[in-house]
């Protein structure tokens, strides 16, 4: 009884230790390979969604674009994974009472001020680079950063190094040079 009570209480705690979370994600990777013959990856679903939206606006000839012929814009396992990711992240935040509608993150506001327009412009620009770069390099922090590296794929190790090299450089420029 007490053990179940303790376990249940953890569902309501905001933050779990990183090693527990990391091991849990590693086990999810086992399950994805074993049960679905699929590595976990997120950014392909964004490309498929972009293609589906473009098809809704411009019609089915969008499918003929070379990129979408190689990566058909349809709902698939990876798209369902991202839908589940949202539901799981929402549930976790809801259980610990951490849902908090906010336009500007605290750390951004402390350095760059409370302007919603400034934050959204930067986020949009950053998002476009993330989406563009993820497709250029065939993967993101999940597909390369976890699934590729754990298979010891050379491309993925190089990609992760570049993710963090680019990220650390720009973070230091933003918070240590511009925003002092």
């Amino acid at each position: 009884m007490d053990i179940f009570q303790t376990l249940a209480n953890h569902l309501f705690v905001s933050i779990w230790p990183p090693y527990i979370v990391g091991a849990g994600i590693g086990i999810l990777c086992w399950l994805a390979f074993l049960l679905s013959n699929h590595p976990i990856g997120v950014s392909t679903a964004f490309a498929k969604s972009a293609g589906m939206i473009e098809m809704a606006v411009r019609g089915p000839e969008v499918r003929n674009k070379p990129y979408y012929q190689e990566n058909p814009p349809t709902i698939d396992w990876g798209w369902m994974l991202v839908a589940g990711l949202f539901l799981g992240a929402f549930t976790a935040a809801w259980l610990s009472g951490d849902i908090n509608w906010k336009w500007v993150p605290q750390m951004w506001e402390d350095t760059f001020g409370p302007s919603i327009l400034l934050r959204l412009s930067a986020a949009l620009l950053g998002g476009i680079c993330v989406g563009f770069g993820a497709r250029w390099g065939s993967g993101c922090t999940s597909g390369h950063g976890i699934s590729g590296t754990l298979q010891l794929v050379l491309t993925s190790w190089i990609a992760v190094f570049c993710f963090f090299a680019g990220g650390v450089a720009v973070a230091f420029i933003m918070y240590r040079i511009i925003g002092v």
């Binding site: 990777c29 991202v82 993150p105």
Partner: protein
């Protein structure tokens, strides 16, 4: 391999949703869907992101290679080239710092109410992916094939006769790095 299960489309959709649910749940509980935690990692002040990724790699690597030895799973390796694997991920990294989320954590951040992750993250990443699709034919012709090295693994690179000759040192090295982070209090 569970081939029959892999071919059951509806069950696979459900499994994708379920695995995604627990993935999102863990990312949120790990705190890595928060802008402040991600930026403090990129500023090398808080190593939560590195700790989670490293533990996931060690756990995943050992399990996936053990299941592969048993014949239960096959690997899914991505091919790369200097023209694809260097510039793309560098642009990703630049965007990662400006946005403050990666694709998975931007979706997770919407789950705790971060509206910048919705407008900038989810919409921006889709726009960037769509832009890439538009430019893909030209990149494919001129830049992507440059310096192709295929789907080599570190096992191939070191010409190891047994993958465990690489897996064990990588796991030990990463665990050692995590231990150092804990010792120095990061």
């Amino acid at each position: 391999m569970l081939k029959t299960l892999h071919n059951r489309t509806r069950i696979q959709y459900f499994l994708g949703l379920a695995i995604g649910f627990f993935f999102g749940f863990l990312l949120q509980k790990g705190g890595v869907c928060r802008y402040d935690i991600i930026m403090q990692q990129l500023l090398l002040q808080d190593f939560t992101v590195v700790k989670i990724i490293s533990t996931a790699i060690i756990t995943g690597m050992v399990g996936v290679y053990a299941m592969r030895d048993a014949g239960w799973v096959s690997l899914h390796k991505k091919s790369g080239s200097l023209g694809a694997t260097i510039p793309g991920p560098l642009i990703f990294g630049i965007g990662f710092a400006i946005l403050g989320y990666c694709p998975g954590t931007s979706v997770g951040a919407v789950g705790h109410g971060a509206l910048d992750a919705l407008i900038g993250g989810v919409i921006g990443i889709m726009a960037g992916a769509g832009l890439y699709a538009a430019l893909y034919p030209r990149l494919k012709e001129r830049i992507l094939p440059f310096g192709t090295f295929g789907d080599k693994t570190l096992v191939d690179l070191f010409q190891a006769r047994n993958p465990w000759f690489v897996i064990i040192p990588v796991a030990v090295f990463m665990a050692g790095f995590l231990a150092i982070l804990e010792i120095v209090g990061l």
